[in-house]
Symmetry: C2
Subunit: 397 residues, 2 copies
Amino acid sequence: MKKIVSIAAALLLTIGAFAQQALWGGSKIVSPQINDDNSVTFRLRAPKAVKVEVTGDFLPTQKIDTPFGQFDGPGFAELVEKDGVWEYTTAPLAPELYSYSFVVDGLMVRDPSNVYMIRDIASVTNVFIIGGGRADLYKVQDVPHGSVSRVWYDSPALKMQRRLTVYTPAGYEQNKSKKYPVFYLLHGAGGDEEAWIALGRMSQILDNLIAQGKAEPMIVVMTNGNAGEQAAAGESVEGFERIPSMQQRGMMDGAFELSFPDVMKYVESNYRVYKDKKHRAIAGLSMGGYHSCHISRYYPDKFDYIGLFSAAIMPDKNATCPVYQNVEDQLDVQFAKKPALYWIAIGNTDFLFQANVDYRKMLDEKGYEYKYYETGEGHIWKNWRIYLTEFVPKLFK
Amino acid sequence: MKKIVSIAAALLLTIGAFAQQALWGGSKIVSPQINDDNSVTFRLRAPKAVKVEVTGDFLPTQKIDTPFGQFDGPGFAELVEKDGVWEYTTAPLAPELYSYSFVVDGLMVRDPSNVYMIRDIASVTNVFIIGGGRADLYKVQDVPHGSVSRVWYDSPALKMQRRLTVYTPAGYEQNKSKKYPVFYLLHGAGGDEEAWIALGRMSQILDNLIAQGKAEPMIVVMTNGNAGEQAAAGESVEGFERIPSMQQRGMMDGAFELSFPDVMKYVESNYRVYKDKKHRAIAGLSMGGYHSCHISRYYPDKFDYIGLFSAAIMPDKNATCPVYQNVEDQLDVQFAKKPALYWIAIGNTDFLFQANVDYRKMLDEKGYEYKYYETGEGHIWKNWRIYLTEFVPKLFK
């Protein structure tokens, strides 16, 4: 035991002052603390601060002015100081995965007592989960777990090696003669092949739905939908000097759709999968819904299950890529082949809500079959996690 | 383009104020900025702050008082304010992966302009890399990349499903008839199956050494060496409510060594690997060096390549686990079988330096063959990355 303590001490000191507060320092600060009634207490030791606030998606929204107009953003609550430690307790919160940051005298900072953070584009925030109800699907439960792999595939169409995230369900390694269906799951603008794993809680949702018998065991493939990028921020040759932003290379110019057969070829050459339409699904959020719409239309024999989550729909009128020509004719072809499921989901305050109303109106007029799922709120991960939990049980049945 | 911008704006606003500064806000803050002479400029917008410092492992060390005595820790440098933006430029830095944090009026905070952070036990710090020399091995280069998978294996010995990180080299998926050697790479106290991937830069180092022809293509298996834990912080059923610390369950009580055949069984059942001694290596840092020492001794027919990086060596005198009985007799057996490489590396200011001197003296007295590699400095990731780059080219040749 003495030896363990001395190793602990020494390891600590290699990281020196960094770790001091978190590992040993004085009275331990616990933050966030989830209380029995699902209220949450935040704490921050900041004896010299004048004003400390917490901001997060569990607080009432407030209007924010931006170069693009006024939008809803997360609200702020003030912490109260006692003996140098600031504290705030929320009202009881509904089950959900929440994000938050502190604001100390105007400077946005992460909670030093909470190592759990998730990057969303260029922002890193702390996270916590209030369990119960649907949010129990977002937690790691005591069930068999799938594998999550970061692999590289060759894309001749894009002339580069590119990174993919692949989920294989529990049992894939053991059941060596079993074949699986494949679900291609695409991210939104500013995202990458890490997005559905991080804020999307994809692997937990699939593990849990499969363990409950509510979803078929399936392989889930998460691409990088920015056709000009090799990989997520920090994972390409640009390294840590790349500053992530909303503006990625090759987002909605058709190049990603044209290169999609390269992804399918890699998956179907390297995994034990069925290679027919009825064992393939594609869905995505926002820009990924746009990609799913156009990929499934452009390759009408490939996907039997299509999901548009808060999707951008129609290409720019001046788009020249062959993928975006003859859209309506190709939709005719796609729907004549009667996909098993064409599923549209959106929140009723989403800035893309009206575009989705218009698209559904067009589908209705043509008599195309689809299912529609509407939630409250807007263009947020809370909705995309909900849509994933609703969509996946409908696949391959 | 209008559509892309509107999606960008809306996505931004779902994360609202969080993202505002990083994505759009006023004049953009670039931090850290690596200058042509390899000096680094740090910047932080904090108009209300009175004092802003940066602390990191590129600054001269300073003495830190702890409950375990006085140790060296990273130093501090003050930033200078102009128009609300604080700034500091280092001297030119040697090639290396560096960690840092800001200290704003006594509060340690992460750099809001840098999304790249790595968790080390309970501390999260920003990171950057100065390229050149050996540090080029730590960067993602334009070479074929291996896959990195998080998988779960069954450990009957520990009565739980446990998480592993597995690196398979570039070409593994394509060369379906080729078999590979296996290198088991173990973490230190407070670490887990993520440690070598994060601060260890294991996948970059292997990708680069293999591409340069300096290392054999091999599978690298990174276990969780805390026998009482299923998985890294945040990846087990304890979820985000687990507070990581140096004190993990089942660190050096022999249970991990006794359960090691469960890991090997999983790997040898699920990957295309050779299953003989000359195609197996084991190495680890600190506690992982201790585990490597005792696993390779307790199973003397299993590993031909053994690496002790800044290793803890001898078990507690009162240890009762069968693994720790008859240590010297078993070392006799292990060395009589002449391992291809028994490699000991340590820094000359490491708190375990004398323990390693004593161990080598014992090996010398017995006439056992080993190789020794000494560096400056102590118990730090800089050394462990160096040892990995030195050890891997010696394997399986």
